[in-house]
Amino acid sequence: MPLDQQELRFLEDKANQLRHLCVDTVAWAGAGHIGGSMSAMDIMVLLYYKYLHIDPQNPGWEDRDRFVLSKGHAGIGYAPILADKGFIQRELLTEYNHTGSSLGIHLDSLRVPGVDASTGSLGHGLSIALGMALGIRLLKKSCKVYCLLGDGECNEGQVWEAAMAISHFKPCNIITIVDRNGLMIDGATEEVMKLEPFKQKWEAFGFIVKEVDGHNFKQLAEAVEYSISENSVPVVIIADTIKGCGIDFIENDYRWHYGGLDSDKISEAHKSLTAYYEKRIKGE
């Protein structure tokens, strides 16, 4: 089912609220991967509030859908969602990155309910997701596996090992999404290590490629539903995103891959996010 107006508004509000909460968490943590969290936020919000069949009361539910955040450094964007969903207590966010806290930069699946895989070493997630998908198929269950990768992460050979294997095994229950924000740590992906022609690379590996605006819920939802319904050819959604999306002084600046925000910057960030939200609501 495509998004209706009410759902769309709900998602817009949710994404806005969680972007603000992410900024607060960065403040509590002292610093964080804010750029990649903001670029991935709409994608994660759509999955968590529209598609994933999960139960925060029963995080280990065997028949749940799985989500693998392959770009694990976006944990500080992911944890606010888990808190909002009720997997973890919201107060825990105030201890993010503190010594002894269960929440660190890369979320640990054994310590944080709702996290399906401990990631952080880039390049692993798609293989793990594929293993889950193949296992689920073998067990004759109907749950789905969603995997979110970074674009810089796609420098890793293992991503392509996994892509090749997805084409080969055709699990059909895996939804692959790349957060194509165009930046990595040391600069633009095309400068550090060229990914283009990116679409053709995935196509060459046997994928149908859906290129969408990664900050447009309608486009994202259509692509996710296409991927769910396509049962013979694997699909990858390349989500065109903005690193730091919504925070004007962070947007599209690779130096904000990871950083700290002082109290002035925190209020500036909140202000910018509010303005960004209003623009989105007006459809600008």
Binding site: S121, A133, I136, L139, A165
Partner: protein, 335 residues
Amino acid sequence: MAGLTYTILDATNLSTAEIYGRVLCDMGERYPEIVALSADLAKSTKIGMFGEKFPQRFFNVGIAEQNLFGIASGMAKVGLVPFVSTFAIFTSMRGLDQVHTDICYQNLNVKIIATHAGLSFGQAGTTHHCTEDLSIMRSMANCKVIVPADGIETANAVQAAYETLGPIYIRINRGFDQIFYENTDYGFRIGKAVQVAEGNDLTIIACGSCVYQAAEAAKILRSVDHINARVLNMHTIKPVDRDAILAAVQETRRIITVEDHNVVGGLGSATAEVLALSGKACAFEMLGIPDTFSIIGLHEDLMNYYKIDTDGIVEAARKLIGKEFEDDENWDDEV
């Protein structure tokens, strides 16, 4: 494990890996949650025997070891019990980040049976020798590390691995091992050394193919030198059998370790750690590959060259037996 016993009749004319393949097929029959994975080494590692019997439950991922261990981790996460086989060198190095983060860190129920370990693929050259894996795998928290002495013990280890929750690394050799055990009924338990020869003059602690060599050495020492050597088959390197080592120190006070592995980080190091922490004095020698990239050749020739065969062990025992390590018999002043 009730009902699954193997004897020398099952092992004769079978390589160690073939016995592994057979055991895995038998277990696959009983346990539908077992799946098997390899990376274009299904034939060489013999995990392919499972694949022939259960094609739906076997996954060959091609020559992609990182993907291999990642997929295994995902399968374990949804409740399956993956057995994964490729060469030891590609397990402990090429796919190590995945073994570490995807499997060990998340304490997943994945069983890794790594083949062609040590110098057993000697002629393939040093890119295929694997004399670092015990050191590497021993430092992976959550992971148990087992080195079976022969095919029969491999059958025991593989079954025990299924029965024990969590990640387990079993390293076996390429090709045929000297048959050491006649049947599987000798009380194999993970973490418990097996005493294969009695003696109180010194203790030889061995693992893998060196167990047979140590037992042969003990026979020579007994008949020629009248030295009664205790021989321990330390099939589990982690958790190592501390009690057996401490008893050996107390009762024999001379210990030789022998392994088809670098002397850094493997069985010798594991033993040395127990010794050092005990505070007891002990004459001690570690046999293994002397922290070097090994030369090329047949496994048995290389074992001889690096003095981890019967001759090498006998020579080391004769030296060690004459070594002074303590002026008096007073144990109280040693800590």
